[in-house]
Amino acid sequence: MENLICLEHVSKSYSKYPVLNDLSLTIGKGRIVGVLGPNGCGKTTLFKILAGLIHDYSGNITIEGHRPDIHTKSILSYLPEKTYFENETSIKTTISLFNDFYSDFDKEKALDMLNRFRLTPDMRLKSMSKGMQEKLQLILVMSRSAKVYLLDEPLSGVDPATRDTILDTILTNYNENATVILSTHLIYDVERIFDDVILMGYGHLIAADSADNIRAQSGKSLDEYFREVFKC
Protein backbone atom coordinates (compact mmCIF):
# COMPACT_ATOMS: atom_id res chain seq x y z
CA MET A 1 0.00 0.00 0.00
CA GLU A 2 1.39 3.34 -1.05
CA ASN A 3 1.66 6.11 1.47
CA LEU A 4 -0.32 9.13 0.43
CA ILE A 5 0.40 11.22 3.49
CA CYS A 6 3.47 11.20 5.74
CA LEU A 7 3.93 13.06 8.98
CA GLU A 8 7.32 13.15 10.68
CA HIS A 9 7.80 14.68 14.12
CA VAL A 10 5.13 17.30 13.61
CA SER A 11 4.61 19.73 16.46
CA LYS A 12 2.46 22.82 16.78
CA SER A 13 1.83 25.08 19.75
CA TYR A 14 -0.54 27.92 20.34
CA SER A 15 1.08 30.41 22.74
CA LYS A 16 3.29 27.79 24.30
CA TYR A 17 0.32 25.41 24.60
CA PRO A 18 1.36 22.28 22.69
CA VAL A 19 -1.51 21.15 20.53
CA LEU A 20 0.43 18.66 18.42
CA ASN A 21 3.34 16.97 20.06
CA ASP A 22 5.87 15.08 17.93
CA LEU A 23 3.32 13.39 15.71
CA SER A 24 4.61 10.80 13.24
CA LEU A 25 2.31 8.67 11.11
CA THR A 26 1.50 7.58 7.57
CA ILE A 27 -1.80 7.33 5.75
CA GLY A 28 -2.26 5.09 2.72
CA LYS A 29 -4.17 5.45 -0.53
CA GLY A 30 -7.72 4.19 -0.91
CA ARG A 31 -8.38 4.10 2.82
CA ILE A 32 -11.16 5.38 5.01
CA VAL A 33 -9.42 6.68 8.12
CA GLY A 34 -10.96 7.74 11.39
CA VAL A 35 -9.25 10.37 13.50
CA LEU A 36 -10.51 9.92 17.02
CA GLY A 37 -9.75 11.74 20.22
CA PRO A 38 -11.27 13.92 22.89
CA ASN A 39 -12.09 17.58 22.34
CA GLY A 40 -9.02 19.74 22.10
CA CYS A 41 -6.69 16.88 21.24
CA GLY A 42 -5.52 18.55 18.04
CA LYS A 43 -7.68 16.89 15.37
CA THR A 44 -8.81 20.16 13.81
CA THR A 45 -5.30 21.59 13.96
CA LEU A 46 -4.01 18.50 12.19
CA PHE A 47 -6.66 18.84 9.50
CA LYS A 48 -5.91 22.53 8.99
CA ILE A 49 -2.21 21.82 8.60
CA LEU A 50 -2.95 19.11 6.02
CA ALA A 51 -5.37 21.46 4.25
CA GLY A 52 -2.60 24.05 4.03
CA LEU A 53 -4.34 26.56 6.28
CA ILE A 54 -1.72 26.56 9.02
CA HIS A 55 1.90 26.96 8.03
CA ASP A 56 3.83 27.50 11.23
CA TYR A 57 4.49 24.05 12.53
CA SER A 58 7.66 22.06 12.97
CA GLY A 59 8.40 18.73 11.40
CA ASN A 60 7.80 17.29 7.93
CA ILE A 61 4.54 16.70 6.17
CA THR A 62 4.18 15.36 2.67
CA ILE A 63 1.01 14.76 0.70
CA GLU A 64 1.74 12.76 -2.42
CA GLY A 65 5.35 13.74 -1.92
CA HIS A 66 4.68 17.49 -1.68
CA ARG A 67 4.70 19.75 1.34
CA PRO A 68 1.25 21.33 1.83
CA ASP A 69 1.14 23.93 -0.96
CA ILE A 70 -0.89 25.03 -3.96
CA HIS A 71 -0.57 21.61 -5.54
CA THR A 72 -1.77 19.71 -2.49
CA LYS A 73 -4.69 22.12 -2.09
CA SER A 74 -5.84 21.14 -5.54
CA ILE A 75 -5.90 17.46 -4.70
CA LEU A 76 -7.36 17.85 -1.22
CA SER A 77 -11.01 18.54 -0.43
CA TYR A 78 -11.56 19.95 3.06
CA LEU A 79 -14.81 20.06 4.98
CA PRO A 80 -14.34 22.28 8.04
CA GLU A 81 -16.31 21.85 11.21
CA LYS A 82 -18.01 25.22 10.98
CA THR A 83 -20.19 26.44 8.14
CA TYR A 84 -18.43 29.19 6.33
CA PHE A 85 -21.15 30.39 4.02
CA GLU A 86 -23.22 33.45 4.84
CA ASN A 87 -26.82 32.90 5.79
CA GLU A 88 -28.19 34.64 2.72
CA THR A 89 -26.32 32.31 0.38
CA SER A 90 -28.42 29.99 -1.73
CA ILE A 91 -27.45 26.44 -2.54
CA LYS A 92 -27.24 27.45 -6.20
CA THR A 93 -24.61 30.04 -5.29
CA THR A 94 -22.51 27.58 -3.31
CA ILE A 95 -22.48 25.24 -6.29
CA SER A 96 -21.43 28.06 -8.62
CA LEU A 97 -18.67 29.04 -6.22
CA PHE A 98 -17.26 25.56 -6.06
CA ASN A 99 -17.62 25.14 -9.79
CA ASP A 100 -15.64 28.34 -10.35
CA PHE A 101 -12.94 27.58 -7.79
CA TYR A 102 -12.25 23.95 -8.51
CA SER A 103 -11.53 22.47 -11.91
CA ASP A 104 -12.29 18.99 -10.58
CA PHE A 105 -15.78 19.93 -9.37
CA ASP A 106 -18.51 17.77 -10.88
CA LYS A 107 -21.63 19.94 -11.08
CA GLU A 108 -23.83 17.14 -12.35
CA LYS A 109 -22.81 14.92 -9.48
CA ALA A 110 -23.55 17.69 -6.99
CA LEU A 111 -26.99 18.33 -8.45
CA ASP A 112 -27.73 14.63 -8.43
CA MET A 113 -26.73 14.31 -4.79
CA LEU A 114 -28.78 17.39 -3.90
CA ASN A 115 -31.76 15.70 -5.41
CA ARG A 116 -31.19 12.49 -3.51
CA PHE A 117 -30.82 14.44 -0.28
CA ARG A 118 -34.04 16.29 -1.08
CA LEU A 119 -32.44 19.70 -1.26
CA THR A 120 -33.21 22.22 -3.97
CA PRO A 121 -30.88 24.84 -5.48
CA ASP A 122 -33.05 27.77 -4.46
CA MET A 123 -32.89 27.03 -0.73
CA ARG A 124 -31.00 29.52 1.39
CA LEU A 125 -28.75 28.52 4.24
CA LYS A 126 -30.67 30.57 6.78
CA SER A 127 -33.81 28.51 6.21
CA MET A 128 -32.00 25.18 6.33
CA SER A 129 -31.66 23.00 9.40
CA LYS A 130 -28.24 22.01 10.70
CA GLY A 131 -28.68 18.58 9.13
CA MET A 132 -29.48 20.08 5.75
CA GLN A 133 -26.44 22.38 5.95
CA GLU A 134 -24.22 19.42 6.83
CA LYS A 135 -25.53 17.50 3.85
CA LEU A 136 -24.91 20.44 1.55
CA GLN A 137 -21.35 20.91 2.73
CA LEU A 138 -20.67 17.22 2.33
CA ILE A 139 -22.12 17.25 -1.18
CA LEU A 140 -19.90 20.16 -2.19
CA VAL A 141 -16.78 18.52 -0.79
CA MET A 142 -17.51 15.06 -2.21
CA SER A 143 -18.38 16.43 -5.68
CA ARG A 144 -14.76 17.24 -6.22
CA SER A 145 -12.55 14.43 -7.42
CA ALA A 146 -9.79 14.84 -4.93
CA LYS A 147 -7.12 12.44 -3.72
CA VAL A 148 -7.72 13.32 -0.08
CA TYR A 149 -11.04 14.16 1.53
CA LEU A 150 -10.69 15.74 4.94
CA LEU A 151 -13.96 15.78 6.83
CA ASP A 152 -13.85 17.49 10.24
CA GLU A 153 -16.73 16.23 12.36
CA PRO A 154 -19.17 15.73 9.50
CA LEU A 155 -21.61 13.89 11.75
CA SER A 156 -21.87 15.95 14.90
CA GLY A 157 -25.16 17.61 15.64
CA VAL A 158 -27.17 15.70 13.06
CA ASP A 159 -29.90 13.14 13.60
CA PRO A 160 -29.21 9.40 13.22
CA ALA A 161 -31.01 9.10 9.87
CA THR A 162 -28.96 11.94 8.38
CA ARG A 163 -25.85 10.34 9.82
CA ASP A 164 -26.62 7.11 7.98
CA THR A 165 -27.21 8.98 4.75
CA ILE A 166 -23.89 10.75 5.12
CA LEU A 167 -22.09 7.46 5.79
CA ASP A 168 -23.76 5.85 2.80
CA THR A 169 -22.57 8.78 0.69
CA ILE A 170 -19.01 8.30 1.88
CA LEU A 171 -19.17 4.58 1.10
CA THR A 172 -20.80 5.12 -2.28
CA ASN A 173 -18.12 7.59 -3.24
CA TYR A 174 -15.27 5.34 -2.19
CA ASN A 175 -12.56 5.12 -4.80
CA GLU A 176 -9.33 3.24 -4.38
CA ASN A 177 -7.20 6.17 -5.53
CA ALA A 178 -8.53 8.51 -2.89
CA THR A 179 -8.46 8.53 0.86
CA VAL A 180 -11.16 9.82 3.19
CA ILE A 181 -10.04 11.07 6.58
CA LEU A 182 -12.78 11.91 8.99
CA SER A 183 -12.87 12.92 12.62
CA THR A 184 -15.75 12.09 14.90
CA HIS A 185 -16.89 11.65 18.46
CA LEU A 186 -19.60 9.21 17.48
CA ILE A 187 -17.35 6.18 17.38
CA TYR A 188 -19.99 3.61 18.31
CA ASP A 189 -22.30 4.42 15.42
CA VAL A 190 -19.63 4.84 12.83
CA GLU A 191 -16.68 2.63 13.55
CA ARG A 192 -17.36 -0.13 11.05
CA ILE A 193 -16.70 2.26 8.20
CA PHE A 194 -13.03 2.74 9.11
CA ASP A 195 -10.11 0.86 7.59
CA ASP A 196 -7.60 2.60 9.79
CA VAL A 197 -7.80 4.58 12.95
CA ILE A 198 -5.64 7.37 14.33
CA LEU A 199 -6.22 7.83 18.02
CA MET A 200 -4.95 11.11 19.41
CA GLY A 201 -4.81 12.34 22.97
CA TYR A 202 -3.60 15.76 24.01
CA GLY A 203 -1.54 16.19 20.87
CA HIS A 204 0.17 12.82 21.12
CA LEU A 205 -0.40 9.82 18.94
CA ILE A 206 -1.88 7.10 21.09
CA ALA A 207 -2.51 4.53 18.40
CA ALA A 208 -2.40 4.28 14.61
CA ASP A 209 -3.46 0.92 13.25
CA SER A 210 -6.11 -0.82 11.22
CA ALA A 211 -9.46 -0.93 12.95
CA ASP A 212 -9.66 -4.71 12.74
CA ASN A 213 -6.18 -5.07 14.26
CA ILE A 214 -7.21 -2.99 17.24
CA ARG A 215 -10.34 -5.10 17.57
CA ALA A 216 -8.44 -8.37 17.30
CA GLN A 217 -5.70 -7.36 19.75
CA SER A 218 -7.88 -5.69 22.34
CA GLY A 219 -10.97 -7.86 21.95
CA LYS A 220 -12.94 -4.64 22.09
CA SER A 221 -14.84 -2.40 19.76
CA LEU A 222 -13.15 0.90 18.90
CA ASP A 223 -15.72 2.62 21.08
CA GLU A 224 -14.85 0.46 24.09
CA TYR A 225 -11.14 0.80 23.39
CA PHE A 226 -11.46 4.58 23.23
CA ARG A 227 -13.38 4.70 26.49
CA GLU A 228 -10.77 2.58 28.19
CA VAL A 229 -7.89 4.74 26.97
CA PHE A 230 -9.55 8.01 27.98
CA LYS A 231 -11.37 7.13 31.17
CA CYS A 232 -10.74 9.58 33.95
Partner: protein
Protein backbone atom coordinates in the same frame (compact mmCIF):
# COMPACT_ATOMS: atom_id res chain seq x y z
CA UNK B 1 -27.40 0.15 3.47
CA UNK B 2 -25.41 1.41 6.40
CA UNK B 3 -28.34 1.34 8.78
CA UNK B 4 -29.90 -1.97 7.81
CA UNK B 5 -26.88 -3.94 8.91
CA UNK B 6 -25.85 -4.63 12.47
CA UNK B 7 -22.39 -5.77 13.45
CA UNK B 8 -20.65 -6.59 16.70
CA UNK B 9 -17.90 -3.99 16.74
CA UNK B 10 -15.76 -5.89 19.24
CA UNK B 11 -14.99 -8.59 16.68
CA UNK B 12 -13.14 -7.79 13.45
CA UNK B 13 -15.81 -6.80 10.98
CA UNK B 14 -14.38 -8.80 8.10
CA UNK B 15 -14.79 -12.03 10.07
CA UNK B 16 -18.49 -11.29 10.46
CA UNK B 17 -18.81 -10.68 6.75
CA UNK B 18 -17.13 -14.03 6.07
CA UNK B 19 -19.81 -15.71 8.18
CA UNK B 20 -22.63 -13.87 6.42
CA UNK B 21 -21.37 -14.79 3.00
CA UNK B 22 -20.90 -18.41 4.04
CA UNK B 23 -24.54 -18.38 5.07
CA UNK B 24 -25.52 -17.17 1.60
CA UNK B 25 -23.52 -20.00 0.09
CA UNK B 26 -24.84 -22.69 2.45
CA UNK B 27 -28.42 -21.61 1.90
CA UNK B 28 -27.85 -21.63 -1.87
CA UNK B 29 -28.81 -17.95 -2.11
CA UNK B 30 -25.56 -17.85 -4.01
CA UNK B 31 -25.46 -21.03 -6.03
CA UNK B 32 -22.40 -23.11 -6.82
CA UNK B 33 -20.60 -21.69 -9.85
CA UNK B 34 -22.61 -18.46 -9.75
CA UNK B 35 -20.92 -15.08 -10.22
CA UNK B 36 -21.06 -12.89 -7.13
CA UNK B 37 -21.67 -9.11 -7.17
CA UNK B 38 -18.76 -6.66 -7.40
CA UNK B 39 -16.86 -5.81 -4.21
CA UNK B 40 -18.15 -2.29 -4.23
CA UNK B 41 -21.81 -3.28 -4.54
CA UNK B 42 -21.45 -5.96 -1.91
CA UNK B 43 -19.77 -3.51 0.45
CA UNK B 44 -22.58 -1.02 -0.02
CA UNK B 45 -25.34 -3.55 0.46
CA UNK B 46 -23.73 -4.86 3.63
CA UNK B 47 -22.96 -1.37 4.90
CA UNK B 48 -19.21 -1.75 5.19
CA UNK B 49 -16.02 -0.35 3.80
CA UNK B 50 -14.96 -1.87 0.44
CA UNK B 51 -11.52 -2.73 1.87
CA UNK B 52 -13.17 -4.72 4.63
CA UNK B 53 -15.30 -6.54 2.07
CA UNK B 54 -12.22 -7.24 -0.05
CA UNK B 55 -10.49 -8.75 2.97
CA UNK B 56 -13.48 -10.99 3.66
CA UNK B 57 -13.67 -12.15 0.03
CA UNK B 58 -9.96 -12.97 -0.01
CA UNK B 59 -10.41 -15.03 3.14
CA UNK B 60 -13.20 -16.94 1.41
CA UNK B 61 -10.97 -17.46 -1.61
CA UNK B 62 -8.30 -18.85 0.70
CA UNK B 63 -10.84 -21.29 2.09
CA UNK B 64 -11.80 -22.30 -1.43
CA UNK B 65 -15.44 -21.23 -1.24
CA UNK B 66 -14.91 -18.47 -3.76
CA UNK B 67 -12.53 -18.22 -6.66
CA UNK B 68 -11.50 -15.27 -8.79
CA UNK B 69 -11.10 -15.17 -12.51
CA UNK B 70 -8.89 -12.21 -13.30
CA UNK B 71 -11.00 -10.53 -15.95
CA UNK B 72 -14.45 -11.86 -15.25
CA UNK B 73 -14.91 -11.53 -11.51
CA UNK B 74 -15.50 -13.72 -8.50
CA UNK B 75 -17.52 -16.91 -8.42
CA UNK B 76 -18.84 -19.37 -5.87
CA UNK B 77 -16.98 -22.67 -6.10
CA UNK B 78 -18.65 -25.52 -7.99
CA UNK B 79 -17.18 -27.94 -5.50
CA UNK B 80 -20.40 -29.06 -3.79
CA UNK B 81 -18.49 -31.45 -1.55
CA UNK B 82 -16.43 -28.56 -0.14
CA UNK B 83 -19.54 -26.45 0.41
CA UNK B 84 -21.21 -29.35 2.16
CA UNK B 85 -18.23 -30.08 4.42
CA UNK B 86 -17.81 -26.39 5.34
CA UNK B 87 -21.54 -26.25 6.04
CA UNK B 88 -21.33 -29.26 8.32
CA UNK B 89 -18.28 -27.81 10.05
CA UNK B 90 -20.15 -24.58 10.78
CA UNK B 91 -23.14 -26.48 12.09
CA UNK B 92 -20.95 -28.65 14.33
CA UNK B 93 -19.22 -25.61 15.74
CA UNK B 94 -22.59 -24.12 16.69
CA UNK B 95 -23.78 -27.40 18.16
CA UNK B 96 -20.67 -27.70 20.27
CA UNK B 97 -21.17 -24.15 21.57
CA UNK B 98 -24.79 -24.93 22.33
CA UNK B 99 -23.90 -28.15 24.15
CA UNK B 100 -21.31 -26.33 26.25
CA UNK B 101 -23.82 -23.74 27.32
CA UNK B 102 -26.53 -26.32 28.02
CA UNK B 103 -24.04 -28.22 30.16
CA UNK B 104 -23.73 -25.13 32.32
CA UNK B 105 -27.49 -25.37 32.82
CA UNK B 106 -27.05 -28.98 33.85
CA UNK B 107 -28.35 -30.59 30.66
CA UNK B 108 -26.59 -33.59 29.13
CA UNK B 109 -26.93 -34.75 25.52
CA UNK B 110 -29.73 -37.26 26.24
CA UNK B 111 -31.79 -34.73 28.20
CA UNK B 112 -31.30 -32.20 25.41
CA UNK B 113 -32.53 -34.68 22.78
CA UNK B 114 -35.69 -35.28 24.83
CA UNK B 115 -36.32 -31.54 25.23
CA UNK B 116 -35.83 -30.93 21.52
CA UNK B 117 -38.54 -33.49 20.78
CA UNK B 118 -40.88 -31.73 23.20
CA UNK B 119 -40.48 -28.27 21.71
CA UNK B 120 -42.77 -27.31 18.79
Amino acid sequence: MFAENQYDASIPIYQQIVIRIKEQIFMKTWKPGEKIPAVRDLALSMGVNPNTMQKALMELEREGLLYAERTTGRFVTSDSALIESTHKEAAHRMIREFLERMEKLGYQKEDIKKEIERIE
